[in-house]
């Protein structure tokens, strides 16, 4: 088994090719059932009452009116009297009722009195209060950066800010919970980790883990925010217990945005120096940001580029706003924006070539080659050599930035493959599909090695009753499940060959599966149809499993992106024209869905650059734009041409779910500078920000 390798792309039917996803038809026809779509007989609707204050103590909760309402089946208090509510949106009480409308009326009937205290809801306001700021964590290397400020060819000293952003998974967080017995239950959860949720909820409810089945066959996006069932999950289970009926509790859009997680912000004061040849010399920086009420904020900085001398102090700021959660490449898009802005400012000050300087200051040959390729594809030579000198209304420019990510797999998963005497093939693994195409990966790998059409394989995922698998975060899913699936199908195929060998008069080692047949390798005249062999299988057919083989995967991926923008200098509006995304993908299992992932990362990165911004109302402490209207995301009219280059680097599987989102915002901001000579240091780059920056320049 040590010799196992991925299939040679020259010989494959599916693997490493462009394959439409197997669950696509159900999704386009509306038959794919997401958690939000589950309707059970007798099911009740749960709703949560949330605290309207950013910082307050609960004095009293009166649920009597809610309990007395017809159609209300359960009311539970989630906060106790005397409890401190640390953000506007924190859970206070919950109800379950016959309909969603009644549940809404019932939470409105709950009376809560609060002792309201003064709050701070943004990093920039909270950092003025020393009690809200953690003692700085300092990282340093080389000499004191201070000694370079007077001698370096270029020095900049600036402030940068990247705001809190939302996940906005289109399917909100939520759960449908049904007790099947006192200590046995089934739940449907929109989650990135069915096994993780099974452990979390069963532990919390005090029932054996094997007695809780967690189902997530389809999910409407996660982006890092859906690892646990969360407080609403446990609450839904309690409501269902109290009411004696199944309960559906899906957060609404407001709740999802205030309480369902966010990407933390990053504020940086930075001084940096570069030598005349483009070599980075020194950085001194203070970084601030908030994870919400808790601490532990940080981003990786300096990012990617080798800085021989730096001193970086990280200050975590506590605010009265919803807690941060992992958001697609946690910390990296922020770090990329900060670092690439600094590097670009120095490069522009010296009038150097941004591609060459980036290549010089980092150590990856892959990334260097990607920069070269991306520069050729976008037409880097077309960039403005003298930013800010153009005179027309519409001004175009090109910027670039790079990324790094892990994306390797993790062990501990199991895949089962069953082949029936009727020729049916089933493969199951307890992973989940965030929209990345995980179910298709299962079917492709199995179909490839059994030489069958894709539709012959029933791929089963999204249930905790299936073999264990990792949570889908850190871009680990494909690199974690693909080796496991491969080992499982090879084990099952070996059993198939044992049956076929005597029938064909050859040894098992001489057999192969191809085009629906089991045959002597390279000799189709000695062959049987797949079904003919299956019919001769021992009773019960084949049931084999596989576990993870680390030799089939490899982490550590590089990426480079180039963005061309057009700035309307009359309105300050920035229009992305074209993006070239070169992404290291190792051995891509499915090139079609891998490309989609890259496009999606770019689109979200453009949103970060141009639109996305959680706005808190400082006086009331509430989020002003907890919706998809004034929290703007990229829509059809903003989408540029996106050219994806999957940069094949080796023959092992790597994950790429997160890295494509990392460099886009930074490359966009650098492109705006290249177009107009205006440096935007606070995201998003709205028209007002562009004019502000223009004004600050003159």
């Amino acid at each position: 088994m040590q010799d196992v390798r991925w299939n040679d792309p020259k010989t494959t039917q599916y693997v490493n090719k462009h394959v439409p996803r197997v669950d696509g038809p159900g999704k386009v026809a509306g038959t794919a059932k997401y958690t939000f779509d589950i309707v059970l007989p007798g099911m009740l609707y749960g709703k949560i009452l949330r605290c309207p204050h950013a910082l307050a103590t609960v004095q009293a909760i009166d649920t009597s009116a809610a309990k007395a309402m017809p159609g209300v089946r359960a009311v539970i208090e989630m906060a106790r009297e005397g409890a401190t509510m640390r953000y506007a949106g924190q859970e206070v009480a919950a109800v379950a009722a016959d309909s969603e409308e009644i549940a809404l009326d019932a939470i409105r009937a709950i009376r809560v009195s609060y002792d309201v205290q003064s709050h701070a809801v943004t990093t920039l306001t909270a950092m003025k209060d020393a009690s809200r700021v953690s003692a700085p964590e300092e990282q340093a290397r080389g000499q004191d950066p201070g000694q370079f400020w007077s001698s370096a060819a270029a020095v900049i000293e600036e402030e940068y800010y990247c705001p809190v952003r939302g996940h906005l998974c289109l399917e909100s967080h939520g759960i449908v919970f049904r007790w099947d017995a006192d200590d046995r239950a089934t739940c449907w959860v929109s989650t990135q980790a069915v096994h993780g949720v099974a452990g979390e909820l069963s532990g919390g409810l005090g029932i054996p883990q094997e007695n809780l089945t967690v189902i997530c066959e389809y999910m409407g996006g996660g982006f890092g925010s859906k690892f646990g069932a969360g407080v609403e999950g446990a609450t839904c289970a309690r409501l269902a217990k109290a009411a004696g009926k199944p309960v559906k509790l899906m957060l609404d859009r407001y709740e999802d945005q205030v309480a369902g997680g966010n990407a933390p912000d990053a504020y940086m004061k930075c001084k940096a120096a570069m030598a005349a040849d483009g070599k980075l010399l020194a950085i001194e920086a203070d970084l601030y940001g908030t994870n919400g009420p808790g601490r532990g904020w940080g981003v990786p900085f300096p990012y990617i580029y080798g800085v021989p001398n730096f001193r970086v102090r990280t200050h975590s700021v506590s605010t009265n706003a919803g807690a941060a959660r992992a958001w697609r490449a946690p910390g990296h898009p922020q770090a990329s924006f900060l670092m690439e802005s600094v590097v670009d400012e120095l490069i522009c000050k010296l009038g150097l070539d941004g591609v060459k300087v980036r290549q010089m200051n980092q150590g990856s040959q892959v990334r260097s080659a990607q920069l070269e390729l991306g520069a050729a594809k976008i037409g880097w030579e077309r960039r403005n050599k003298n930013p800010g000198q153009a005179t027309g209304r519409y001004q175009r420019g090109i910027g670039c930035a790079v990324s790094t990510w892990g994306g390797g797999g993790r062990g501990g998963s199991r895949c089962d493959v069953k082949i029936g005497q009727d020729g049916s093939v089933w493969a199951g693994i307890g992973t989940q599909d965030l929209g990345t195409g995980a179910r298709t990966v299962v079917a492709m790998i199995v179909a490839e090695d059994l030489g069958l059409p894709l539709e012959r394989v029933k791929a089963d995922i999204g249930k905790s009753s299936l073999g264990s698998s990792v949570g889908s975060g850190g871009s680990v899913t494909t690199a974690s499940i693909a080796p496991t699936i491969k080992m499982a199908v090879l084990a099952a195929r070996a059993r198939l060959f044992e049956t076929a060998a005597p029938l064909l008069g050859v040894t098992a080692g001489e057999l192969e599966c191809a085009k629906g047949r089991v045959q002597a390798r390279g000799n189709p005249s000695k062959s049987l149809r797949f079904e003919e062999v299956c019919a001769k299988l021992p009773a019960g057919g084949i049931s084999e499993s596989g576990s993870w083989n680390g030799a089939l995967q490899q982490g550590g991926v590089a990426g480079a992106q180039f963005v061309e923008v057009e700035v309307d200098t009359w309105t300050g509006n920035v229009r992305p024209i074209k993006v070239v995304a070169v992404q290291d993908c190792g051995y891509a299992i499915n090139r079609l869905t891998a490309e989609s992932q890259v496009i999606g990362g770019v689109i979200q990165g453009l949103g970060m650059a141009l639109l996305e911004d959680r706005r808190m109302d400082v006086p009331t402490g509430r989020q002003l734009n907890a919706n998809i209207e004034s929290y703007r995301v990229i829509g059809a009219m903003e989408v540029p041409d996106v050219e994806v280059v999957l940069f094949d680097t080796h023959d092992k599987v790597a994950g790429i779910g997160e890295p494509p989102v990392i460099p886009t915002a930074a490359a966009t901001i650098n492109a705006i500078y290249n177009a107009t000579g205006v440096r935007i240091r606070t995201l998003p780059a709205t028209p007002k920000r562009w004019f502000d920056a223009l004004g600050a320049k003159s």
């Binding site: 289109l170 999606g600 990362g601 009219m637 989408v639």
Partner: protein, 210 residues
Amino acid sequence: MPEDSPNRRSLSRRKFLRGAGTAIAVTGAGALISTKVNGDATEPAEQGGTAQEGLVDVTLKVNGKTHQLKLQPRVTLLDALRERLQITGPKKVCDRGNCGACTVLRDGKPVYACLTLAVDAQGSEITTVEGFGTPEKMSEVQQAFVEKDALMCGFCTPGFVTAVTAALKKNPNADNEELRRACRGNICRCGTFNRVFEAAVEAAKKMKGA
């Protein structure tokens, strides 16, 4: 983009108000929104009135089938479809007409089901994404979405499929720009727009060829 066409055929304003208790119908930007006005918005609904009283008979024609329901007048077409009829192709995402995931066809024109009251949808032919095709027998638009991978998580997909289908019904010769504009009322958070446009163009080509 949904074209809202409030067309209260089967329910008089008076009957609607009576059924809604102390409610008022407000027509804004072509959409019908019901807002409770009985004093403080945080007051509970009238005592004892919520569970059974105030329900009205509603007849909906969806994908060619007629359904009889008893609903509170404030129930949206989207909630009626999803929670009462278990027609869950149209998705609930923003519930306020921002994202297009709930788009359905009302007499052939795209509307946001979350901004349409169920009582108001009576007398119309409602077509959801389930009405265009099945996984086994997809429409050209659905087929093109699958082939071009114009979906990731898939939660926005029924809305996009519906918007593109309506655009091509309206103008079979719609060009790239027109098809892109047809999608401007829909949000895809996974960011699959480019492939949606490709799929739309592909579907247009196939439908003309057929």
